[in-house]
Structure formats: structure tokens, C-alpha cells
Symmetry: D3
Subunit: 258 residues, 6 copies
Amino acid sequence: MVDSVRLDELSWPEFAAKIAAGAPVLLPLGSTEQHGPHLPLNVDVVLPTGVCERVAREVGGLVAPTVNYGCKSMPRSGGGEVFPGTLSLDAHTFSLVVRDVIRNLVRQGVRRLVVVNGHYENCWPSVEGLDLALREIRREGITDLVVMRLEYWDFAQRATLDRLFPEGFPGIDLEHASLLETSLMLVLRPELVEMDKAPTDGPAKFPPYDRFPVPDDFGLPPSGVLAVATGSTAEKGEWLMEDYVTRISAAMRREFGM
Amino acid sequence: MVDSVRLDELSWPEFAAKIAAGAPVLLPLGSTEQHGPHLPLNVDVVLPTGVCERVAREVGGLVAPTVNYGCKSMPRSGGGEVFPGTLSLDAHTFSLVVRDVIRNLVRQGVRRLVVVNGHYENCWPSVEGLDLALREIRREGITDLVVMRLEYWDFAQRATLDRLFPEGFPGIDLEHASLLETSLMLVLRPELVEMDKAPTDGPAKFPPYDRFPVPDDFGLPPSGVLAVATGSTAEKGEWLMEDYVTRISAAMRREFGM
Amino acid sequence: MVDSVRLDELSWPEFAAKIAAGAPVLLPLGSTEQHGPHLPLNVDVVLPTGVCERVAREVGGLVAPTVNYGCKSMPRSGGGEVFPGTLSLDAHTFSLVVRDVIRNLVRQGVRRLVVVNGHYENCWPSVEGLDLALREIRREGITDLVVMRLEYWDFAQRATLDRLFPEGFPGIDLEHASLLETSLMLVLRPELVEMDKAPTDGPAKFPPYDRFPVPDDFGLPPSGVLAVATGSTAEKGEWLMEDYVTRISAAMRREFGM
Amino acid sequence: MVDSVRLDELSWPEFAAKIAAGAPVLLPLGSTEQHGPHLPLNVDVVLPTGVCERVAREVGGLVAPTVNYGCKSMPRSGGGEVFPGTLSLDAHTFSLVVRDVIRNLVRQGVRRLVVVNGHYENCWPSVEGLDLALREIRREGITDLVVMRLEYWDFAQRATLDRLFPEGFPGIDLEHASLLETSLMLVLRPELVEMDKAPTDGPAKFPPYDRFPVPDDFGLPPSGVLAVATGSTAEKGEWLMEDYVTRISAAMRREFGM
Amino acid sequence: MVDSVRLDELSWPEFAAKIAAGAPVLLPLGSTEQHGPHLPLNVDVVLPTGVCERVAREVGGLVAPTVNYGCKSMPRSGGGEVFPGTLSLDAHTFSLVVRDVIRNLVRQGVRRLVVVNGHYENCWPSVEGLDLALREIRREGITDLVVMRLEYWDFAQRATLDRLFPEGFPGIDLEHASLLETSLMLVLRPELVEMDKAPTDGPAKFPPYDRFPVPDDFGLPPSGVLAVATGSTAEKGEWLMEDYVTRISAAMRREFGM
Amino acid sequence: MVDSVRLDELSWPEFAAKIAAGAPVLLPLGSTEQHGPHLPLNVDVVLPTGVCERVAREVGGLVAPTVNYGCKSMPRSGGGEVFPGTLSLDAHTFSLVVRDVIRNLVRQGVRRLVVVNGHYENCWPSVEGLDLALREIRREGITDLVVMRLEYWDFAQRATLDRLFPEGFPGIDLEHASLLETSLMLVLRPELVEMDKAPTDGPAKFPPYDRFPVPDDFGLPPSGVLAVATGSTAEKGEWLMEDYVTRISAAMRREFGM
């Protein structure tokens, strides 16, 4: 018998047995997006998938296949659509994907579900997709479903951030392709990280508004790295991963009564 | 520098350089669907992704992230939506995903594109998604794009099928979770195949129509395996893979003038 | 009192009475598409409508108005959209039409429904439209509906095909505007058939993939006739029609318990 | 060679030749809707199709296949959706059908187009469908298209109405299944008219608002005939048909410069 | 405590209390559209909002925020989209807005609802939006909702129109930016009316069909005023307003059993 | 001549003249949403509209009609949909409204546009609506458009926030119905503020995830006020307003080259 936390590595009878036994399912939402010259385009796929797999092992859950394409990147949070390598879905498309996958998971008997987002611009269309699914599910007469939806990075402890940024945490807004993501990639896929290419043209200095077309002097570092990636290490990545896994697992146990 | 045929394992400057140099891109379309008690739910993700990666190595191409959720399974071709483990998108959703990904690839400069489908019910909504993308692309004034769209299994030679089925090829229609797919999985992900669980309740004997609700005596084997999986070997899988890679590569060289 | 199997030739009290008495309804799905120089554009409307009317007479059913515009034609199955005369709907539009008509039929009390498709590229979006309707119908609490969905050509007996093609049936894939459709048109609308214009530039020799834009040497006969139409006769058409009517009627009696 | 004003009775070379020669195309928009106990459900298909065919003969035009299902019936203009036999599309679906058909006609080279509506509730979604098509067509760079859109009943002369209603025309609003439509059906499909069943429970006396759910005392005659059908004759129908054909033809000649 | 008939000027506990007490809600549907050189673009917002507020005071109801953007203007009823200042929504967008707002009002406990339309081209998409909402509401199991939908101008008495137009009412069709709307604006927002700019280039003389592109000689007065605005006075506006308020209130009392 | 910064209070010739002269247009995006027991439901309409009007006066711009219904409220930022009085649109609907209004403004000649959002959950669907509009506009060949998109609250100076919150700014996340919004309402619509009802049950203490259904102990104050409103004054509101108007005007001058 295959032993895997990845739902799609099970056969259907194995899947059915786990769900019947109450296994919670984690759904990672990713994207294919530029992450600077030192990181691959799949950062937002690798990180939430990696978090989900570790949490699933911790709590006896299953990880659904990752949604590999996310919602459009914005200049002020991800560099934007014009960057090479960014391949995004329209918000409506992305919401429908989330709706369909959630509706199907619930149709298959899942009653404990965690949507784990790994790409900033997915937040709102994933909320929408979830709401559309819940509306339909309610009309099916299903009332025993509990769903959590989260951005994994919100589970870092304040103390951990202080430890990572002794001179003060610059805020999650600019953490695109920067110290946090780079350190986590050094944990999960170190062979894809090229620290010698980590740029020093940041941090970004954006005005408090979007502007189209994006002007050359908009404050976006040419590298696409919004803050600073230098100093990233696998050790720092493990500090973060520890926070994410411990605290997401704890929240799941609390909400699901496990 | 990372050396990978997977587009999403490159950084954006590496991606940009490859595309500028004319690298063709292969886009695998998968699904998460029951494939009998001896195969995992990810067969339709593993197989087209595996084919694409081998072809990409052969022709100097790149493989885009796989679309992991496919269009709804039908009883007569995949067992249908009621089987445990099948997690599908509506046709409209799937078409929009295909449209958005293709539109973005072309916006990023890709001019040689191959859509490689690995799930029967994706055929038509992938055609639609491609058509919707091409309609928009045309209006952008882009005229030098060449796109191929294919089901990988159509590239097996007649001789190979005769060799695999000495008593006559029963036809591709019932090849769901059967000898071809099982043999290919033994090549690509043997640790996920449990040959001892390969069922013998097939082949399916369907009437020439759909019927809803699906009655118990519709002819669908309870295992979800539409034909027969026994006799599958990695060697047979290699025969098929050889055909797919050689012949898809040849077709790409011809159509793209490479 | 008007005596007609066409639902739309009845007045509303006549319609209501027939439905209340349990009459099954057949819904023909057609298209307006090139069918070579010897056949009119309405072949895919005439044939399923004709089959439905004969079946309805046999089983005491009613025929709903035909959907006259179908889903986009593809080069390898119908010549494609660039052929003069082909007028198609987007897949999403077509699915919504099917959904709306089925939802309305069921709302009107129909509980035995047969969707009879006459255009290859309608298969999948008609499946989708039916699925969307069934999802809504289920939420209305209707549980006694039985629906069949079929392509009429799948009801030819093997023996009949052998009789029609003494040298071997070339397969349904290329039967666009060819011997089967031409013979059936000679039964139903002979005045619209110009046998002297039946071309001899076929059969089509397609590669196993789609390619856009469609190149000149794609293997598509300039006439748009994918196989061969010569030798078509009304007598052969009657053989086929006999199969379709007898066997669809039998399947309906079985599934509907009539 | 087939001689027909029905576009779909031509082969593709015949269609192509006529369009290349500048033939205008008329697109009839119908519905399947209750029309009282004395008329069939297809009145709104038969009448605009009949008008189009006569106009086409007059001006050398072609008639596209009729859209057989129309937009939802409203209680105050057609009796409403709850009447048996009424089978309608959502407004969005209907608009997409109109958009797709018009876009395809123009893609096929049609530059003189007349959309002829025969069902009151189609007016606005047909306007919308036409607008959506024109928006796309403009972006294709096509600038020589002229489109007319009309309700055929607006082409009756005042004098003809005075002759038909010596005591004063009650207004087009209540003319559903009443004298005008019944007389026209007596011209086009007399075998489907049962004058002995023409009801006398009208005319409708509606309040100046919609109300849902529709109450029993809303003023809707139980027959579904909003005004009065008695006195209908084929002769009167010919007066109207004469007006429609003459005046629509004249308008086409003027607008198309023919 | 704030005393206002405007729902959005209440706090949520005040809103909740009023709805719990059975207060009917009026939803005004407006548009931003040219209304000649003497009237502002907001006429179709001001008038239905003003009517709703007066009716709400009369019957103890609440007025929901006005939908400020309406469905596309047509040349024969509003001058059309090419007129400067006309800012419209697609029909589908507008219907979805109406659907969402109604669904939310009902979700919030509203069971007596009046949709008050103030822009001609909103009629049909507001019907559609209401129907889409009712379809969903029905599936929620809500059965005690009563909805009215109306165009406010349909509540003028025949006697009032005769008094306003001693030489005969030219019909509501051409009343865009003309005597009725101008007089009503003189009641509600006189400071926005510039009677000295009221044009005299009307009335419009349209042919009985739409034509695209709109030709110069289509009969549309260059001012955008379809009939005649001269002679408008606040006194006349009060006559109309009196009719609207009295008669809409009476209809609400009757339908809602208040 | 009417002198107003509200676009919809102008006649069409006045509007056309201002746009031709290069006037920038500000589009306020609001919502109808609970804002505690001391504030009305229209806070998110009043505030961005008020900001826009003051900025428009400063820079010679025009304010388009406010979008009165916004995207769904979330528990952690606005209390959520279950709060009485919250009336929201689906994200897709809201995006289409934004798309249509922007497309129309640009069609009408506007080339300097500022989208001013006043409701947190509108941020992302307004980005999407803008992107959809820009995609269409680009295909129209329009290249001289400059658009800004902003949340007005991002224009407060750090120094002002420090002055308002001497003990430290708790962050914008919880500023729903709290000190900032209440103070601004005291500037713009003081008669709608009931300071004596300002609650003291906050601030909210949310976990770092969404959870559905929302449990009673989720940390949401029953009042719907996420932080603290006590201490709000019109004077403080003026400090903020001064920042918004001065700095948004400055940004517009810079980006529009005015």
C-alpha cells in the first residue's frame, strides 16, 4: 500500500478510506511568477506545497494537487505581469478553479478542509472561489463542513521575525523573492537557488498607488526582488517552517476538534 | 545555472533567454481522476508531464507547469464523477485556464507551442481554450505563432499496438487505467503502481449512450478499470514512450521548422 | 386536434396533456456546417431531426425544436471554421443553450428525455450542458428524471456497416459528408443532394494532431468531404435509418421502462 | 443546383458565391412559447421565418437558420414561464447565441445583415448580442458592415391596422396569440391553427407592474391569449404580410444601397 | 437616532430593526446618460430615487442605494452610446448587479421588495436580474417573498397625461429628456435644469428599425432630446409626482397586504 | 451654466467640453456595509466620494458617479456578510462593473483617470476590473491613457497617524468603523454619526486565518467595530482629509503632467 500524504499518489480506494476516516485535506494554491534572478518561477508552488506536506504529516491529513497557476501578479506585490516568466490566470478563472476543486472535494466526502495560499494576489480570488463553493454546498444541504483559509506566512511568530530581522521587520508587503522566500527555498529546493545571483537593487520604493502603464521610475527594482535576499540561509528557513507547521497544525486541531 | 527542461525551475532571466532563443514550450494538461485500485489518482498528470519532459529534452524545449485538474470524467471513458478521488473542473473553467495560460505564454514571447493532453475528457475543452486564446492573440496583431495540440496516445505506432495486443487492440476508448497507462506508470512512477491490486472485473461493456443517473448495470466495472491491466510491464511502457517521444519530436521539428 | 410528433406544432394544452401522460421528449442537437459541394449546410440539422421524428413515432414521444447552431467545427472532424458556410457557437454558449433547454423541459414536467446529437463537435459541450442542468435540477429536489444522451450514428449495427463497406469500414472519424451522411440525406431530403458534385479528392489524411494556423498541406481535401461520398444511395440510407430507429427505440423502452 | 433562399439548403460553394456577390442575410430570432389553445408553440418561429423568406425572395437575400429558442417569456407580454410549453433561454445565453451567429456570419464575409425578431422578449437581448458582436467585429478591423435589427410587426402600416381593428387598435402590447399572429399563422401554417379553440377569456387586464410570484388575479387570461383571436382570417394575414415584405424590403434597399 | 428613509443612512441595528418590523424596501435603478443640453446626466438617477423616497415616506419603507450606472442606451430610446456623457454597463453586468443586490436584500430578511426602474433600457436586464435572484432564492427555500418591479412612468394617470398634453400624448417612447423628465427635474433638482438651453430640434423621427452604424440622417435630433422639453414646469412635475407616489403606494399596500 | 465637479450634474455638452479640455476623472468605488452602531451603512460611499470631490476641486477634475455596492465584506476586515445591512456584489460582478465604467469613460475621451477605492475588499476586484478594461482598450489602439488606482487611506502621512494615535497606530487592518472612518464622517456627514453609540467591545482579536462557518468565539466584536471609535472628532478628520487631498492631488499632477 502506498504511503503518501499526497492525495493524488493514492488509489481511489485508499483515498476513499482516508476521507471516510475523517482525514483533513489541505489545498495548496500557487502561481508561476518571477522571483528574481536567484530563484525559480515555481517558488509560490514549492512553498505552500511544502508547508502543506509537513502539516499533513503532522496531523494525519492529505494534500490535494497544487493549483500551479495563480492570479495576476501586481507591480507593487510581485513585479507584475510584464516580468518575463509570470504566467497568470484572470481572477475570475482562478476563482472558478478554486470553486470547482472545493466543490468536488466536498462532494467526495471531505468535511475538514484547509485552503493554503502561497501567492499574495491569490488571497482575494481564493476567498471568492471559496464563497462560491460554500454557496453551492449550502444548497446541497451539507452542514457539517468546516473550512479554514490562510496565507501560510501569517503563521510566523513575531519572535521569529524579530530574530530574522534584527534591525526590524520591513513588513510582509515587500517580502517577494526576498529573505523569507529565499530561506524557505533553501530548505525545500536548495538546488534551484542561486545565491550568487541574489540582487542588491532593492528594496522597492513604491508610491501609494498603482499606475498604468507602469513608468520606468515606479520604484520597482529591475531584478524583481522587492526587498533584500542576501543573508538567506536554510537555517532561517527552518525557523520559519517550524512556526508554520506547528501553528497551522495547532489551529487545525482546534478548529476541527482533532 | 539551473539546467532543467521545466520552465518553472528556471529563473526569469533564464526563461527569458530560452524563449528569446526560440525554445518551443510544451504545456501538459492533466487531471486528478480514479485509475483503478492499482494506480494512483495522478496518472493523467504523470503521463503527459513525463512525455513532455522527454520530448523537451529531445528538442531543446521547455515544459510549462502541468494543469493538475482536468475536465469532468464521464462514465464511459473514465468511470465518471461519482468515483471516489475524481476531482474535476467544469468545462468552462478548464477552457478558461487553458485560454489564460496560452495567452500568457504568447504574451511572454512564446511562438512555438505544443499543448499535450493526457486526459480524454480534456480534448474538447482544450480545443475551446486554445481557440479562445487564438482569437485574442489574433486581435493583438500576433501572426507568427504556431500551435500544435495533441493527445499523446495518438502517437503510438500501429506496429507497437499490435505487439502489445497480439490478439488485437481493443481500441483506445477503453484504455482507461488499463494496459497502456499501467505500463507507462511502471516506467515513470513504478513505486505508485500496485500490480497485485490490478483488477479483473473488466472489460467494460457499455451501451452506446450516456444515461443519468448511471444505473448499476451500466457495464462499468466496479474497479474503475475499463479494460484489462494485467500483463502491464515497464518494458511495454518503454515501447510506447519511445513512440511518443520520437514521433512527437519529429512532428514538432516539421511544424516548427527546427 | 393537431397530430404531430413535433412538440412545437402542438398547442400548450396538447403539450401539457402529452407530458402529463409520460411522453418521452427527444431533443435534436444540430449544426450549420459545410458538408462538401454535394450536400447542403443543414445536414447535421436534418439527420438528427429525422431520426428523432421516426423514433418519436415509434415510441409515442415528442421532438423538441432542433438546436440549429452547433459547437465549433474542427479541421480533423468537420473541415473547420474557415470553411465557407460553417456558422458555429462557442462551446460555452452551446453548453448554456443545452442547459437552459433541458432545465426548461424538466421544469415543464418532462421526466424522460433523450438528447440526440447529430454533430460530432457537439458531443462534449452537450455533455457539459446536460451536467450543468442536472446539477440545478438536483437542487430543485427532482429525483425521478431519467436522461439518455447519444450520438445517433453509434446505433448502426456492425453488420450494417460491413454491408455498406464491403472492403472494411474506414471508421466513423472520417464520415463527415461521406457515404453515411449522404445516403441518409438521400432518404430525408433527396432534393438537396447533388450526387454529380460528390467529390473524389478524399479521403483526408490527417496527422495525429491539430495545428494552427492550418497549413495547406494538412491533409484536408479541398472539398471538405473527409472520406468518400460516391456510392451513396437512399437504399443504404434506409438500412442505417432502420438501425437507428429500431435500436434507439429499444434502448428508450429499456431505460424508461416503457 | 439547389435554388433556395434558405442559406442552410445551399452547399458551401453556393453559399460562398452568393455572399461574395453581396447577398444580404436575414437572421430570424424565434421562440418556443405558449400561444393559446388554438395556436402551436412555434408561432414565434414560423412568423419571422416566413417573413424573412418572403423578403429574401424579394431582395435576393438569404435566410439563416432560425434561432428556435428565445428569451424568457414575461407574464405581461407572453403569459410567462409557468405556462406549459414555454421553453426559454436565459437572457445571457440568448445574447451569446446572437453574438456568436452574427460574428460568424460576418467572419464568413456577410456585410449586409438584418436581424428579424419575432418574439417580444428577444428585443433587448438581441440588441445586446448584436452590440457584443459589433464590439468584436470592430476590433477585427471590419468597417464595411451594415446591420439592421427590427421587430417585423413594427412594419405594419397604420392604415392596415385601422382596417384590421375598425374599433381602434388595442396596441401591440397585448397582441400575443391574438388577431395579428393568428391571421398570419392562417397564411403560413393554416393546418396548425384550430380556430374553434380560440378563447374568449381576454383581453388581459394587467396592473402597470410585474409581481412575483404571479397571483391568481393578476389579469392574465387562463388561455394565455392576451387580447382576442376571434375574427382572424388568412386574408387579414395577407394584408399584414404584404406590409411587412414590402416595407422591410424597401428599408433594406435604402440602407444597403441595393 | 437617525431618521431617514434611505437605508444606507441607518446604522446596522436600525436597519435590522426596520426590516424585522416588515418595512418594504424600494430599489431604484438609474443610469448615467445624456439628457439633452438643458438637463444633467443624472436624470435617470434623480427621478427614480426621488420617487422612491417619497413613496417610502408614504408607506414606511426604506430606499436602497441607487444603482447609478444602467444598461446601454439605444439610439431610438436614449440617443445611444455614442452621445457624450453616456456611461453604461453591458446587459449581463447590469443583470448581475440586480441579481446580487436582490439576493443580498432577501438574505438580510427583506420580504417586501419593489424594484423601481428609471431608465428605459434597464427594463429587460432588470427583469433578468430579478429572475436570476428569484431562482437562487427559491433554492434557498424562501417562499414568503413578494417582489414588484415597475417603471415609475407607467403610474401616470391617463387624465394627467391629457392635462399635460392637451393636443394628445405623443407616447412614452419619445419622452427622453422631454416634457415629463424635465418637469420632474424642476421638482427635484431645479438648480440643475437650464430651461434656456432646452432645444427645439425635435421630435425624433426614427425609422422602425435599428441601424448600425447609426447614419447621420437617422432622425435623431442632435440635441439628444427625443421629443420636446419646452413648456416644462415644476407644477407639471408635481402633477406627475403626485400620481406616481399615490398609485405606487396604493399598489404596494395591495400587494404587500399592508 | 451648472458649476459642479460631479460629472453627472453636467449636461452632455458641458461634460464633452471638460473632457476635451483634458479634465481628469475620479471614479469612487464604495460599498453598503455595516459600520457599527454609531455610523451609517454608507460610510464607504461617503468617504471616497468626499475625497474625490475635494481633490477634483483642487485639480480641476470631475467625479464620476460612485459605485454604491462593493465586493463582499470579509469577517476579518469588515465584519462579514452575515452582519445586518451589508449588501455586496460577487467579485466577478464588481469587476465587470469597474471594467464597463472604465471602458466607457475612455470611450468618451477620458485619458486621465483615477480609481479611488473606499472599501477594503474592493481592492483586488477593482484591480481586476481595471486590467480587463485596459486589455480591451489596448486592442482599440488607444495608447495615451494614464490610470491611477488607489485606496485613499494610503495617503495619510506617518506624522498624521502618529498624531492621531499617540500610543502607536494599531494598523490599517482594524480601522473598520474605527477612529479614522468615524472622524472623517464627522467632517462629511456629521448628522449621520451617533457618537453616544460608539461601542467599546473592541478591538477585534482575530486568528491569522479565515474560518467558515464563522464561530462565535472568532474574535469579532458584536458591534462590528473592529478597533476603537471613541475619541473621534471632526478636527482629526480634517487632518486626514488634508493629507488625502493634498497628496492625491500632488500625485495626480505628477503622473498626469498637469
